[in-house]
Amino acid sequence: MRLSEDCTEALLGQVRQALSTGTPLNICGGGSKTHLGRAAAGEVIEVAAHRGIVSYEPAELVLTARAGTPLREIEAVLTEHGQHLPFEPPHFGENATLGGTIACGLSGPARFARGAARDYVLGAKLINGAGEVVRFGGQVMKNVAGYDMSRLMVGAYGTLGLLLEISLKVLPLPECTQTRVKRMGSQRALALMAELGRQPLPLTGAVWEAGSLYLRFAGAEAAVTEAGDHLGGEKLEIDTAWWQGVREMSAHFFTSERPLWRLSLPPASAPFAEAGETLIDWGGAQRWLKTQIEPEQVFAAATRAGGHATLYRDPRVSGQVQQPLSPELLALHQRIKQALDPQRVFNPGRLYAEI
């Protein structure tokens, strides 16, 4: 496979063909995220060959790459220049592409401190529902000309257009990193995370699992050392692999066959410990829960806490189950889908059955 290839014309041809026949398309990058969202249907359109970094100016802190570019290739080039994607996107496989990462809107453990994938998207080029190549946003950090169509694509699971190219803000790698581990229960851990969050500390990871709180500091060496000493606890020496396990969901916690839920909650929400086994990430804002209780009950509990839930994985169910939108919000989603993809060719049903 060539490292850089512009397949815009071929992709445009396939989309136009699908539009003319009303054939639904199943947009596929590296195939590493088929387990996310609802089960895919439609004719597969391969984007992986449309790849390559189009421009990267380290001093401008901006990188533009084609959607099929492997995420690891982008990360390798950034590392070479002492920079990174601060939102730590999980790959979920060797072949993860930039397009899939953005379409799924995925962010890793640093999300609560440094922002999400959508916070780093500056612009996007895509094929729209009229079979045209369109470009929104750009390669500059401040841009308020027109509606923010590029951020709208993040997490839309490809239902609003086929991503061709994405421009991202990138940042320098932290000078150094240190992880501290303290033994405590989930309730105390949540209280401590809330307290630390109100202090000007270079905290970029805060995970609680099985009676231990893991806190990661990253930044200037002096600040990291000071924060670690201030907090105390045991130093985790081989911490990169540990955080990788959380980021990629390859840690032991995630290997069970029980139904796995993702809860997105206000960080200081009370623990859901009574419901099942929990892993707390994002300083309390993202919680993984293994439980057999009924979906309606989990959705209701998440709503009461001011957040939402996703049935992330359940051996008995194909695809993920999203928390239903309110009727008003669903109606607006349908109108947006109708406006941008009137023939419903892009990933229909992948995010919600109705869009």
Binding site: E57, A59, E60, G82, G105, R111, G115, D119, N128, V133, V134, R135, F136, G138, Q139, V140, M141, K142, N143, V144, G146, Y147, D148, M149, R151, L152, V154, G155, L160, P172, L173, A194, G197, R198, P200, L201, P202, G219, A220, A222, E226, S264, L265, P266, P267, A268, A285, G306, G307, H308, T310, Q323, L325, S326, L332, I336, Q338, A339, L340, L351
Partner: protein, 492 residues
């Protein structure tokens, strides 16, 4: 452009409904009351509205919007009126909906580090409310004493600290909005994400075109332990630009990085006596924040870089008073420049930073060509350039020449890969320049999206996104491969 302001029949009906059904709601219709609403911060555009309504509950906003929807009356939502692009300019036959009475801070949630506020709350008031807790709200547009947080969301406002702390969109977690048909929606949540499309992001910078914001939940950040500010002088603008790239290239992300050119330095110095070196071609202000240890380490490194890059002088603020003095000139730059001429016109393009020397040179050439001086103030860290064109509106033809010159600057920004507006918004002011930045398919997509929210185009009509017809008339439409898009449209 003060035209006919007699209320249309539809508007009259809405006003009657408000008087009858919502007697407690303030409704302004007398000319002396309406004058305050004839423009926003861009006073070259004026139009006296027929009526201004000031509801103070979300239910009232829903009811009023529903009536406007049912009777097809246009609505212009308005915050503090400090916008710089005529985005809040009243429209003919329309109702101005002021959110000024939505001025309450509803909740400060320290554990979740959030504040739930109404849209009319001033930007700085949020920080003032949580200062005692060691927290603050990060985005700090220069109008932060006066501008409202609702307006900040509508414009996706920036400020001097957005390279490190982001724009409004990065610091708001939830919104309550009302659609034109009165539907109430909650977007985002106090959690870090919400199901479905990222409509929270979409609302940012949507300029009152998609919905009316009635509540905002912002993220609060811990105040940094320490701050350092450096001031560096350069005898060449190019060297100052290279110094910015060198700082960022060294892996340092300053909290603020500002540049001023000679005319801006001279104006600021004459106005506030900040002690700026008036013989410099450019100065850089670099703010570094973090823990005391971090600030000490970064300040030393940046000082070295600035000297290596040819700074003729580097000063480090010794204390809070000196920090404030360094910033004083920059913060007073607009009014300072305002003293040099009867009027000035502030532009707001963003460019890739590396193109700065070239862009400044071409602005200089245009300045000579038009015979109008320009002072440049630059958010150097993020590429947002504010050329201030000096002119005299009382000299016949000078406003028109200034606008034409400004338009050339915006075209230049697009040409080098930037944008016509970094943080002030399009409003009515730059609606024609949108035709330069966006080809027809993109504009069509904007209109389609707008229609999903507001099919009859009643919210802030005529702003932010030009019609394809308007672009065709202007002859500014992009031409791809010699083919005009939408050949079915008439062209004049």
């Amino acid at each position: 452009m003060n035209t006919d302001n007699t209320a249309s029949d539809a508007l009259t009906s809405v006003l009657q409904l408000i008087r009858r059904e919502l007697p407690s709601v303030a409704l302004l219709t007398r000319p002396e009351q309406l004058r305050a609403y004839e423009c926003d911060g861009l006073s070259a555009y004026r139009r006296t509205p027929e009526a201004v309504v000031l509801p103070d509950t979300t239910e009232q906003v829903q009811t009023i919007l529903r009536w406007c929807h049912d009777l097809s009356v246009p609505v212009v939502a308005r915050g503090a009126g400090t916008g710089l692009a005529a985005g809040a300019l009243p429209v003919a036959g329309g109702l101005v909906l002021s959110l000024a009475r939505f001025n309450r801070i509803l909740e400060v949630d320290l554990d979740n580090r959030m504040a739930r506020v109404e849209p009319g709350v001033r930007n700085l008031a949020i920080t003032e409310a949580v200062r005692g807790e060691g927290l603050y709200y990060a985005p700090d547009p220069s109008s932060q004493i006066a501008c409202s947080i609702g307006g900040n969301v509508a414009e996706n406002s920036g400020g001097v600290h957005c390279l490190k702390y982001g724009l409004t969109v990065h610091n708001v977690v939830a919104l309550e909005i009302v659609l034109i048909d009165g539907t109430l929606l909650r977007l985002g949540s106090a959690a870090l994400d919400a199901p479905g499309f990222d409509l929270l992001a979409l609302m940012h910078g949507s300029e009152g075109m998609l919905g009316v914001i009635t509540e905002i939940t912002v993220r609060l950040l811990p105040r940094p332990e320490d701050v350092g500010v450096l001031l560096a002088a350069f005898d060449d603008v190019r060297a100052a630009g290279q110094a910015v790239a060198a700082i960022i290239g060294a892996g340092i992300v300053p909290a603020g990085l500002e540049m001023m050119d000679k005319l801006a330095i001279e104006a600021a110095e004459a106005f506030v006596h900040a002690g700026y070196p008036t013989d410099a071609a450019a100065i850089l202000l670099c703010e570094l924040d973090g823990t005391a240890a971090e600030v000490a380490s970064y300040t030393g490194r940046v000082q070295t870089i600035l000297k290596q890059q040819g700074a003729t002088e580097v000063r480090s603020a010794r204390d809070a008073a000196e920090r404030e003095r360094f910033w004083k000139g920059r913060k007073a730059a607009f009014p300072a420049v305002g003293r040099l001429a009867p009027d000035y016109y502030c532009m707001d393009g963003t460019i890739p930073r590396a193109r700065l020397p070239e862009v400044l040179q071409r602005i200089g050439e245009l300045s000579t060509e038009y015979g109008l001086p320009v002072a440049n103030v630059f958010h150097a860290g993020d590429g947002n350039l504010h050329p201030l064109i000096l002119y005299d509106a009382n000299t016949p033809g000078q406003l028109e020449r200034t606008e034409e010159f400004g338009g050339k600057i915006l075209e230049l920004c697009v040409e080098v890969g930037g944008t016509i507006t970094g943080e002030h918004g399009v409003g009515l002011e730059k609606v024609d320049h949108m035709c330069v930045q966006f080809p027809a398919p993109e504009l069509a997509q904007f209109h389609a999206l707008k229609a999903a929210f507001d099919p009859e185009c009643l919210l802030n009509p005529g702003k932010a996104v030009p019609t394809l017809h308007r672009c065709a008339e202007l002859g500014a439409m992009h031409v791809h491969n010699g083919q005009l898009p939408h050949p079915e449209l008439e062209r004049f």
